[in-house]
């Protein structure tokens, strides 16, 4: 077994185990912290896949900003114990059955083909996926989507403020 394969199997095991722990932990704080671990494992995978810039964005935006927002809201609303499954008794087994079915179909369609999809070229050089190369593409060809993204973030910010604002006088 090569080092790369061992690294991949380790990271894959960490990300799958943390995702399962996120689903099963009763306390939503623990779910959030397991999700942070999962994001960090996936960010390490991005690094190994020559996506250095995206890996750093993943850590700062996902594991940093978004998860802090989640933890903030969980602490604002207070802890709530949760039970698995819904109002129907068959909901949990049905969900697990359907999830396993989806995994089986994905496995057949991805791994059951005649030959596996190849790995990429062995040596790429450090330019691929570096901040300068991604940034060059972002600010030349994808400039308009980039600007639209900034408008989208502004709209989301204004929307969040309006949604959570307490009304001063109701009805008056």
């Amino acid at each position: 077994m090569t080092t790369d394969l061992a690294l991949f199997i380790g990271l894959a095991a960490i990300s799958i185990l943390t995702a399962i722990s996120m689903l099963l932990s009763r306390d939503s704080i623990y779910s959030a912290l397991f999700l942070v671990l999962n994001f960090l494992a996936v960010a390490t995978l991005y690094l190994l896949l020559n996506a250095a810039f995206i890996a750093m964005v993943q850590i700062t935006v996902y594991a940093g900003a978004i998860m802090v927002l989640f933890l903030f809201v969980i602490m604002l609303l207070g802890p709530s114990r949760d039970t698995l499954g819904g109002p129907f008794r068959w909901q949990l087994p049905a969900a697990i059955l359907l999830g396993l079915g989806l995994v089986a179909e994905l496995a057949i369609s991805i791994l059951g083909r005649g030959e596996a999809l190849p790995a990429g070229a062995t040596s790429l050089g450090e330019a691929f996926g570096s901040p300068s190369s991604v940034g060059k593409l972002l600010f030349s060809e994808y400039l308009v989507p980039f600007e639209i993204t900034s408008v989208l973030l502004l709209v989301a910010m204004v929307g969040a403020i309006i949604l959570t604002r307490r009304k001063k006088r109701e009805g008056s």
């Binding site: 894959a12 949760d82 691929f128 989208l152 929307g159 949604l163």
Partner: protein
């Protein structure tokens, strides 16, 4: 990393299925939302894996640019979604999704 792309796509598929399972079995709105983030993240992983597979080609970097945009949209979505959860909590004093059924006929 010299691993067949199929393996990475398979990992992405497993993470996506776990996200769907989370949406189906959990009742806490915040955890359901986290599962949606997990699904978005698995889609990002597939994009990065395919970008790496096609790497020497000039177009391959576009996969990473798309992931950048997905992360930005996810950030906006989280801000609005959590604001909605807080607003619902103000009115109903609950984050359990089964108790938010005012629109039920």
């Amino acid at each position: 990393m010299n691993v067949p792309t199929s393996y990475i796509i398979a990992l992405s598929g497993v993470l996506f299925s776990l996200g769907i399972l989370g949406v189906l079995i959990r009742r806490n709105t915040i955890v359901i939302f986290m599962s949606i983030e997990l699904m978005l993240n698995s889609a990002n992983l597939a994009f990065i894996a395919f970008a790496r597979m096609l790497a020497p080609a000039a177009d391959a970097l576009r996969g990473q640019v798309i992931v950048f945009f997905i992360i930005a949209v996810a950030a906006a979505e989280v801000a609005v979604g959590l604001a909605l959860i807080v607003a619902i909590f103000r009115n109903k004093e609950t984050v359990n999704i089964d108790e938010v059924n005012s629109l039920q006929g």
